[in-house]
């Protein structure tokens, strides 16, 4: 790469656009967000990922101004936003429920925010038409929201929030109802918009592939807390906990007792099985419980015993054929099931092993990560 990578979060001199400072949000006695601190920088495409009910929408609503912060502060450009009402914030939000105005046509829905800015009529019209083209809704401009499909409605909501080109755009599951093709196209459109306008995006998604594709950084949440905030490849390659590893993508977890020498760790995980060799920068006390996490695609499967730091034998329990790749579920003698993934470079009829075949699985000593919890 020739151009410097975009990573203001590593730059101590960079000032964040949004700062959550120890933010807690309670609904009555229920704590939805707990002591959360987070910096989001200008021009970021920040993705919030987490199970249903973990507080993603609540964070968005606090940013947009629909929920008060119970404790702590949210700063926008260094200013506490608590006293600023939602209509005075340079923030637009796309609602998870779309919240389209049922009495207005698609066109008027998109024009709504522009008109509030006292924009000139022809400027409004050209902006709305641009948004309609972007979301491929030109044909539906004159329909009411109840006369279009769910995916089309989602695109109207997206167009409406994009129209004002705000400084900060909050998208609460913007693409969930779209088919794969349209979703990918829209993802690239969003990234494009982001690049040309310099808008900062915060996006909630349930689709980790989407988060991986679009985000500059990903935050994984659980029960109102941030589990890890990092770039997509860090989250994927170096999760900081079993929770994150398990939440993002497929993973094999093998738990055992660690014995460390330097950055090499040997994990005793089952009687009669060879210890697993791993590499880590963390420190594990002798005998400490540790979890070895390894992605299926980093586990090789073969009929002959290979030469590798970690080799285990088992038999094929199940094969999930996914077209371009296959996932083999291999049962070890201990009953543990390890998933191994291979690219289907040959035709399916010619693969070298099938159900119940004895196989060897192997991986290098740097392929997995060692986690304390």
């Amino acid at each position: 790469m020739t151009q410097p990578a975009f990573s203001p979060w590593d730059d101590p001199a960079a000032t964040p656009l949004i700062q959550f400072r120890n933010v807690t949000k309670r609904f009555g006695t229920f704590t939805a967000i707990e002591g959360l601190s987070l910096d989001i920088f200008e021009r970021e495409f920040f993705a919030l990922l987490g199970p249903s009910g973990c507080g993603k929408t609540t964070m968005m609503r606090m940013l947009a101004g629909f929920e008060d912060v119970t404790e702590g502060q949210i700063l926008l450009n260094g200013q506490d936003i608590a006293p600023v009402p939602p209509n005075k914030r340079a923030v637009n939000m796309m609602f998870q429920s779309y919240a389209l105005f049922p009495h207005l046509s698609v066109w008027d829905n998109i024009a709504f925010g522009l008109r509030r800015d006292r924009m000139r009529k022809d400027a409004v019209a050209s902006r709305v038409d641009e948004m309609l083209r972007l979301t491929r809704l030109e044909k539906f401009a004159n329909r009411k929201p109840h006369q279009i499909s769910g995916g089309q409605r989602q695109r109207v909501a997206l167009a409406r929030s994009l129209a004002k080109a705000p400084k900060l755009l909050l998208l609460d599951e913007p693409l969930g109802a779209l088919d794969k093709k349209l979703r990918q196209d829209t993802q690239f459109e969003l990234m494009d918009i982001q690049e040309t306008t310099g808008t900062t995006f915060v996006i909630v998604t349930h689709d980790q592939e989407e988060a991986m594709t679009v985000a500059s950084r990903v935050a994984v949440m659980d029960e109102g807390k941030l589990m890890q905030v990092a770039t997509p490849d860090q989250i994927y390659e170096a999760p900081n906990s079993v929770y994150v590893a398990d939440f993002i993508g497929d993973v094999n977890i093998i738990s055992g007792r660690a014995s460390q020498s330097g950055d090499k760790v040997a994990i005793a995980w089952a009687e009669g099985e060879p210890q697993i060799q791993g590499t880590t920068s963390r420190q594990f006390a002798p005998g400490q419980t540790c979890h070895f996490a390894i992605r299926p695609e980093k586990v090789a499967i073969s009929a002959q015993k290979p030469d590798a730091p970690n080799v285990l034998r088992g038999k094929v329990l199940d094969i999930a054929y996914l077209g371009n790749i296959s996932t083999y579920h291999v049962e070890l003698p201990t009953g543990t099931i390890i998933k191994a993934q291979t690219a289907n470079t040959r035709r399916i009829a010619r693969r070298s092993f099938t159900w119940e075949d004895p196989v060897w699985i192997s991986f290098s000593d740097t392929a997995g990560v060692l986690l304390e919890h």
Binding site: A64, H146, Q147, G150
Partner: protein
Amino acid sequence: MKRFSWFNATSLTFGFAFLYLPMIILIIYSFNSSKLVTVWAGFSTRWYGELMQNEDMLDAAWATLKVAVFSSTLATILGTMAAYVLVRAGRFAGRTLFSGMIYAPLVMPEVITGLSLLLLFIGIGLDRGILTIVLAHTTFAMCYVSVVVSSRLTSFDRSLEEAALDLGCSPFEAFRLVTLPIIAPAVISGWLLAFTLSLDDLVIASFTTGPSATTLPIKIFSAVRLGVSPEINALSSIMIGLVTLGVISASLISKRAAVARAKDEQAAAGA
């Protein structure tokens, strides 16, 4: 399967006869050409014609209409505001008390409402006439409006208002541009309800009126004490017609809005 048994048919006939026979007789006799109310002497629209010549009656009709329009409009504004606050304000101290107090006049005997208003107007030295009737009608019609509007508002999706705020509306603009157009059918049927209530109110109007203002119900009531005339029949028929029209349009409007809403919600759920 027989849809109508004899029993059903008979009960239906008797029930409706009981409800509507008197009115039907009244309407029929309003077209009687004889001056004697109880003797049928052929069809004629003579009494409607005479009614149009009767200055007194026309004045009363005009006063009634003015009172009904002003009071129902005022009641609609106040009732909608009250409903909005009660539904939106969330929990505040004394909220239950407030909503109870808004609905209490619904069950209050009219005589008491009328009497207390009369005492108030005398107390503050307000001359009784059209203005006092308007105020009195506003007071009791406003509860009906707020019941109708608040039942619509409770099913109103709050996030629509939030979206409006998010797009730069002030709270008042959000109400005017988003909330009001969506709840308009409920507001209009509230207005029609208030209008009809004011049109046929006798008790409260009698308490709060003065020598300068007479509404139709008061006029009819006092005329009937001197004997029923065919002219009164004609007038009453017109009023029945007006009230029926008001009630039917109110229910049609809210029904059509409910159907449209069901369609919207179905569409939203299908998303």
